[in-house]
């Protein structure tokens, strides 16, 4: 599952994910009927729309033995919210539960399903890590860091308040630019303090927010999706 943000804005993340998974011996399919998991609608309180999109996603991936997505946010939507969205629907509830069980965020899949931490990646330079909020919900508190620490050549620098939200939050960023702006500026300031070459995260939402702020401030720090980092050899 590519996620709509990565599809349109960060296709390299998808390409990197495919390369990485293939390198690890996984067969990758990409059903073209997938679009969006419905999280924006769900979060905004348009639950009927969200259910329609969820049904599309559930149908699209009905046959896949496992679904991997380079996004904590989409994984959280599928794993945590789909079953709840259909809790009163005798037909779709079991399907939702079934898909939830088969769906994994990338770092979850690598560390907890494939049981690898060293994926043979290489990165020359200093990098830090921002934890996407949805990983908290998924309980993936250490997986990405464990993967990063095994990357050759990578010098890991911890980030102050690494697990504080960057201020993205979908429509929140547009509705409350003042509050969201204060959050992302703080995030950018902490990142600058680490003096790294790249900041790594697992979600396109965080990366577009943090990256947009760093770019506005003409920062030299690059944004890098975990998949991109791990795909490099």
């Amino acid at each position: 599952m590519i996620t709509c943000l990565a599809d349109g804005f960060f296709p390299d993340v998808g390409v990197a994910t495919v390369k990485l998974l293939r390198r690890l011996g996984v067969t990758v399919e990409f059903p073209q009927s997938q679009t969006c998991c419905g999280q924006p609608h769900f979060n905004s309180g348009y639950h009927d729309d969200a259910r329609a999109l969820a049904r599309n996603t559930i149908t699209t991936f009905a046959k896949a033995p496992l679904v991997v997505t380079p996004s904590g946010s989409c994984a959280a939507m599928v794993r945590l919210e789909y079953p709840e969205l259909f809790h009163a629907d005798p037909v779709w509830h079991p399907r939702a539960v079934d898909l939830a069980r088969r769906t994994h965020e990338l770092s979850d899949f690598l560390v907890n399903v494939l049981k690898v931490e060293d994926v043979g990646a290489r990165f020359e330079g200093k990098a830090t890590y921002h934890m996407a909020c949805h990983l908290r919900g998924l309980g993936l508190l250490t997986e990405p860091i464990r993967l990063m620490r095994k990357v050759r050549g990578l010098h890991f620098v911890p980030l102050e308040r690494y697990d504080e939200c960057c201020g993205f939050g979908g429509s929140f960023a547009v509705r409350y630019p003042g509050i969201s702006g204060a959050m992302v500026r703080d995030k950018a300031a902490f990142i600058e303090k680490t003096a790294v070459d790249a900041v790594v995260a697992t979600d396109a939402g965080c990366l577009m927010n943090i990256g947009g702020c760093l770019n506005r401030q003409a920062s030299k720090v690059r944004i890098l999706h975990l998949a991109e980092l791990l795909a490099q050899t």
Partner: protein, 469 residues
């Protein structure tokens, strides 16, 4: 200078902008929330199976709320057996009248109050004062803001928006003498002044952190000891509690005690836990002779019937405020209601008005930090989303409804989705430099006020999939 600190309001945008522009407040908020959040994490980490204990606490609350009528009846019987009196207050107004009447009947003139958000909620002080009863807040932070004529801005640190200088100013003016701005000496001045109040007091008013149905017990948790003083010195004690504060058994209490202080500050226990079961017994030297328990509904039963019932599990520890990246930037007064922070964003729309608090359910990035800090793991993000849904039902925003509907219609059709990606790419192409757009049109302009927006990729992933196959 506006009066967001003095009065409840519905101006979230104005109040939050003011807070963001106040560097002193920003500093105070960071100091408070950093310290307390670190305490919260340390507190849970030090408890071997804190997550299971939190689940257990949550189940007790779930069970109690699902049998609330029975437990209230049991609580009443237990209190009466001990010689206490139980009062049922359907509304804030009824609660105020009940307390005023108790004071008048017992001929009380001087009330001392231990920190109680429930009494804030019902605006008790003005009612008592109108009836000729002097009321003194005795939690030091509450005392400061009472003197300053303000509202609390945090569940457990009500005066966090004050500095040592402003406290010295406020207290100096109140006492008519020049006080140094040193926290220790200011607190000792507070002790002196409040001791006199305790000496005179004939009425003690408290909330209740918990009430135990099987024993008729009320429990007060404080760090200063004012809860003890308030229940020990005056001859009459009135405890006011929301009906959701009842728990079934005496042995359920330590489950919550183990979590409350750890969640709030990281202490293993707060300094004082005062567990009061009925009025003073024969032969005892001190303690209140008369004990009244006021059970307050004030909208709670309405919430009990809805999917927002989970909000009634709250034990008012303040952990969600400390964990919240929005609270830590705008502070408590911005939220407008009695309760602030993530839990306030749920309670204020539910109890005040969904229509008049349109921002509160949205002023959250749904990051979930609140839930992971909450001792009873309340799913605050879910309820915020639920409130957004409720808003759409009550006051549909036609334009927004249409936009989301169109968006969803596009997303349900892969060909339309593909077309939309293409259109966005073409439309935004001219605006981009080096992959970033500095100024977006439409609602995107709010985004680019602060940061750049990524340009859509020249080729979407689905188009590149062919090369990968």
């Amino acid at each position: 200078m506006s009066n967001y600190a003095q009065h409840e309001h519905h101006d979230f945008l104005g109040a939050s902008a003011q807070a963001l522009a106040d560097p002193t407040l920003q500093q105070a908020l960071v100091r408070l929330t950093d310290t307390l959040l670190a305490g919260n994490r340390k507190g849970y980490a030090a408890l071997a199976d804190s997550s299971e204990l939190r689940d257990h606490a949550k189940r007790i609350k779930e069970h109690t709320l699902a049998h609330l009528d029975q437990y209230l009846v049991q609580l009443e019987a237990s209190v009466q057996r001990l010689g206490g009196k139980v009062h049922w207050a359907a509304t804030a107004d009824e609660a105020r009248k009940i307390v005023v009447e108790i004071a008048q009947k017992a001929n009380c003139k001087h009330a001392v109050k231990s920190k109680s958000m429930t009494s804030e909620e019902i605006h008790l002080n003005p009612a008592l004062e109108a009836a000729g009863v002097e009321v003194t807040e005795t939690d030091f932070g509450e005392f400061i803001i009472q003197v300053a004529g303000e509202r609390p801005s945090h569940l457990v640190a009500p005066a966090v928006h004050h500095t040592r200088e402003s406290v010295a100013r406020v207290l100096s003016k109140h006492l008519g003498q020049q006080l140094a701005d040193d926290p220790k000496s200011l607190a000792m001045t507070g002790r002196r002044v409040l001791r006199e109040k305790f000496r005179q007091a004939d009425l003690g008013i408290t909330g209740a952190n918990f009430a135990i149905a099987e024993t008729g017990t009320v429990v007060l948790v404080t760090n200063e000891g004012n809860g003890r003083l308030t229940t020990t010195c005056p001859r009459v004690h009135v405890a006011i509690m929301g009906i959701e504060k009842v728990i079934p058994r005496f042995t359920d209490l330590p489950v919550f005690l183990k979590l409350l202080a750890r969640g709030a500050t990281g202490q293993t226990l707060s300094v004082y836990t005062t567990i009061i079961t009925g009025p003073r017994q024969a032969g005892e030297y001190d303690g209140a002779e008369e004990f009244h328990l006021v059970l307050l509904d004030n909208g709670r039963s309405k919430v009990l019937a809805t999917p927002f019932r989970e909000s009634l599990q709250c034990i008012r520890c303040g952990a969600c405020l400390n964990a919240c990246p929005v609270y830590r930037r705008i502070g408590g007064h911005a939220y407008g209601g009695v309760y602030s922070g993530p839990i306030g964003s749920i309670l204020t729309p539910l109890y005040d008005s969904v229509e008049e608090n349109p921002h509160l359910p949205h002023a959250s990035s749904l990051c979930g930090a609140c839930q992971s800090a909450c001792p009873v793991k309340i799913n605050i993000p879910h309820m915020l989303i639920g409130l957004r849904e409720l808003q759409h039902e009550r006051e549909p925003n036609r334009w927004e409804r249409w936009a989301y509907g169109l968006w969803s219609a596009v997303l349900q059709r892969p060909w339309a989705y593909r077309w939309a990606l293409w259109a966005a790419r073409v439309f935004l192409k001219r605006r981009a430099t080096n992959g970033w757009i500095a100024q977006m049109p439409g609602p995107g302009a709010e985004w680019t006020k602060i940061r750049d927006f990524p340009a859509p990729a020249a080729q979407s992933f689905r188009d590149r999939w062919k090369e990968l196959e």
